[in-house]
Symmetry: C2
């Protein structure tokens, strides 16, 4: 049962930024902090950080480092948690927790 | 720099419940789900789940499992993230991300 919740499968390839969304994957934490900095420097009014499974902790690290070192005026518009169902290649299904943190400049 | 954020030190011994707070430690996920169920069964109107470092992911798992399997009517009053400074036995300091999830019956 617990194993079901420990799936680290990234939603997308690491550090991919889709629109104003940063998907947390297996790259180093600072790479995602940089992605966040870049999005705001490119004029995004808000950026959504998404992560699943054990990568949720990294998502929180990314936002905290960003707030503490790069943009102290940052506001967190919302933090949402949910459960997503994954289907693996062999068709079996498992559930994984997910987080979404909406950061505003 | 990233290592600073990866400290898993639990705030308190595993599964300790202090007042209406459940501190996430190194025990299995279901133990903390049970702690949450117990607190509500004992009449608590709300329970605060706290975790640090990599245990943040487990905190989200605990709340999601609780919501999905035990109390579908649960409301999340707030999800707060922060950075805490830890002092180790040798006096050195490190920073660690933290999460606080306030669950209402």
């Amino acid at each position: 049962m617990e194993q079901e919740m420990e799936n680290d499968t990234p939603i997308e390839p690491p550090a991919r930024a889709d629109g104003n969304t940063v998907f947390i994957g297996k790259k180093g934490t600072m790479g995602y902090v940089l992605a966040l900095v870049t999005q705001f420097n490119n004029g995004a009014p808000e950026v959504v950080i998404k992560a699943r499974g054990k990568l949720i902790s990294k998502a929180v690290d990314v936002v905290e480092i960003f707030r503490n070192r790069f943009m102290a005026t940052t506001k967190l518009k919302a933090i949402n948690i949910s459960t997503e169902e994954l289907t693996s290649e062999d068709g079996s299904k498992s559930k994984v927790s997910a987080i979404e943190i909406i950061v505003q400049k």
